[in-house]
């Protein structure tokens, strides 16, 4: 009799513990493993081409490529593009389990020369990394 009660109690506690931890956990909050983040000229076979820190305006466009290793469930990230500290583009990109690569692209115009940065931001608005580069002649 006592053994049954103790077992039931332990089972109840385990169930409650599971529920409570389930409720407490934010569904948005998952740790993303950013494996690669580069700015490049192009993408071929899901790989960045000519990654670097300075890109000629003559290329016409530049790409921010990001690759995530572990994704437990579908989520999204932001690529926020800043020119001389001023936000000029913001792109939301979906990430799907178990691994995902994604990119954003912007067209370059003559007045885009100068220093740029891209903040890679998760769904909780946490900056995962910042890429810095320049658009040159």
């Amino acid at each position: 009799m006592y053994f049954r009660l103790v077992c039931t109690g332990i089972l109840l506690l385990a169930v409650m513990g599971t529920f409570s931890s389930g409720f407490a956990q934010n569904p948005q909050k998952q740790v993303l493993s950013l494996e690669q983040a580069v700015v490049c000229e192009d993408i071929e076979d899901f790989r960045p081409v000519n990654p670097g820190l300075a890109f000629s305006i003559e290329n016409g466009s530049i790409i921010c490529f990001t690759r995530f290793a572990v994704i437990s469930r579908e989520t999204f990230i932001w690529h926020r593009w800043y020119r001389k500290g001023e936000l000029v583009a913001e792109k939301q990109l979906v990430l799907k389990p178990p691994q995902w690569s994604t990119y954003s692209l912007i067209q370059l115009r003559e007045f885009d020369k100068g220093p740029w940065r891209i903040d890679i931001v998760d769904a909780n608005d946490q900056v995962l990394t910042t890429l810095r580069f320049s658009v040159i002649e």
Partner: protein, 479 residues
């Protein structure tokens, strides 16, 4: 057009004190120097000054210029020429007498004894020369003699001028009740119009009276005649009453002493009133003649700033003030006499707007504010804080043909900056000076400087303003 203000707003309590104080100083100077030649010269200079004003108004250039020159050195002239009189007035009187005493004219000299003595000398044909000084000091005008300070008596006077006395040829000086000096030698008058009957004694008497306000009694040894010399005037005395009367007049003794005191009091009151009116006129002419406009730029002073707050920017650092006032006052305004201050005791972090008014402006007396620019001032106030900020190389130019800049490592990659907390919040990157990528080799290291924008943000102590950049160049894959 400048509006006319009511008198109550024109005159402040400080102005009333200013006028009264200066009127009293002028009055005291009159009291101390009245009766002396200083007053006559001052009056003469005042006349010159008025004359210069009139000449200036009439456009008499040279006259005005000459008068101006004389008036300018007037103070110097007075001090040099009348140094003895000034010294005597200041030395002879104590502080109370200088500040608020009213020295009455000397009434102590025994006129009757003098009159009787002179009559006796005349009757005995004993030559005599008796000096009764006025207000002026005669020490520099007489020579020699013996100091005595004996009380006046008929016997003593007769004995001094007795023929066998070694000092009988000189003059005696009478001050108050005492004979202060005997056997004194006087300068001789050079006048050509004197009667032949006048001897050396008469010339000596005139020599002194022509150059001072003293009175001299002369008793002729030959005729026993008595004459009285004052200024350029010579009075023959045939009657003791006339002598007594002239002596009383010279000494300021009226027939009725109460009447004399009254008259003197009235004279002082009138002088006081004149002094007050003069100062009021001067004050009005100097401070209220709003005939000149002057524009000056004054830096703004910020006061009562909270200890933890700093000023990081203002919409204007100088205020342009349009001041009006009398020409002489406006011309001589010094930069430290005009202040524009803003009280920052109520200032909050951020941009504070202040509407400037006359309360913010401090002006010297007699100067008025017409208007100012700007009337609104914004002041950015913030707390001083520090923040570590990432550094980014500002790449420019074109890479060498077929090459691309793959990576670069910055050392240090961040820098600690200090400045206004709000400004620092807005700064997310510190850039380097532009680096021409075309001048870089395949890989290597270089140093470059940081560009600080905004300028109010500063690199924290201990941080370098240069960084080292190690970079790698790779061949570019043709697209």
């Amino acid at each position: 057009m400048i509006p006319i203000e009511p008198l109550t707003t024109m005159i402040r309590w400080q102005d009333i004190i200013d006028i009264l104080l200066n009127a009293y100083i002028l009055f005291r100077l009159y009291v101390l120097f009245r009766g002396t030649q200083v007053m006559r010269v001052v009056a003469g200079l005042a006349f010159l000054w008025l004359f210069q004003l009139v000449a200036s108004q009439m456009g008499l250039v040279v006259t005005s210029w000459v008068m101006q020159g004389i008036a300018a050195v007037a103070a110097l002239i007075i001090i040099i020429v009348f140094r003895n009189e000034i010294r005597n007035v200041l030395q002879a009187q104590n502080m109370r007498a200088i500040l608020w005493g009213f020295p009455r004219k000397n009434t102590l000299t025994p006129v009757d004894i003098l009159t009787e003595s002179v009559s006796e000398l005349s009757r005995g044909r004993i030559g005599a020369l008796i000096i009764i000084p006025g207000k002026e000091d005669i020490k520099d005008k007489v020579q020699g003699g013996v100091e005595w300070h004996g009380l006046i008596s008929k016997e003593m006077l007769l004995s001094i001028f007795w023929n066998g006395n070694p000092v009988h040829d000189g003059a005696v000086v009478i001050e108050g009740r005492r004979i202060t000096r005997v056997g004194t030698i006087l300068p001789l008058s050079l006048r050509q119009d004197l009667p032949e009957r006048f001897g050396t004694r008469h010339r000596a008497a005139l020599g002194l009276t022509q150059n001072s306000d003293a009175m001299v009694i002369v008793v002729s040894e030959e005729t026993g005649n008595i004459i009285l010399a004052k200024g350029n005037e010579i009075i023959d005395i045939h009657d003791g009453q006339v002598l007594r009367h002239n002596l009383r007049r010279h000494l300021g003794i009226g027939q009725d002493s109460v009447k004399g005191v009254k008259r003197e009091s009235l004279e002082l009151a009138a002088a006081g009133l004149v002094c007050l009116l003069c100062i009021i006129a001067v004050w009005f002419s100097f401070t209220k003649a709003m005939d000149t406009l002057r524009v000056i730029e004054v830096p703004v002073e910020f006061t009562n700033r909270k200890a933890d707050l700093d000023i990081f920017g203002t919409s204007a650092s100088n205020i342009r003030l349009y001041l009006i006032g009398a020409g002489p006052l406006i011309k001589h305004i010094q930069s430290d006499q005009v202040k524009v201050s803003i009280d920052l005791s109520q200032a909050e972090i951020g941009t504070n707007t202040f509407n400037l008014s006359a309360k913010n402006i401090s002006l010297p007396p007699g100067i008025r504010l017409n208007r100012m620019e700007p009337v609104v001032l914004t002041v950015s106030v913030d707390k001083l804080s520090s923040k570590r900020i990432p550094i980014q190389v500002d790449w420019v130019g074109s890479p060498p043909a077929g090459m691309r800049l793959e990576s670069a490592v910055l050392s240090p990659s961040t820098i600690r900056m200090v400045g206004a907390s709000r400004q620092l919040e807005a700064i997310d990157t510190i850039y380097t000076e532009p680096v021409d990528i075309g001048k870089l080799s395949s890989s290597g290291t270089f140093h470059t400087k940081l560009l600080l924008e905004p300028a109010s943000a500063q690199i924290a102590d201990g941080e370098a303003d240069r960084i080292e950049v190690t970079y790698i160049m790779r061949e570019r894959t043709p697209l």
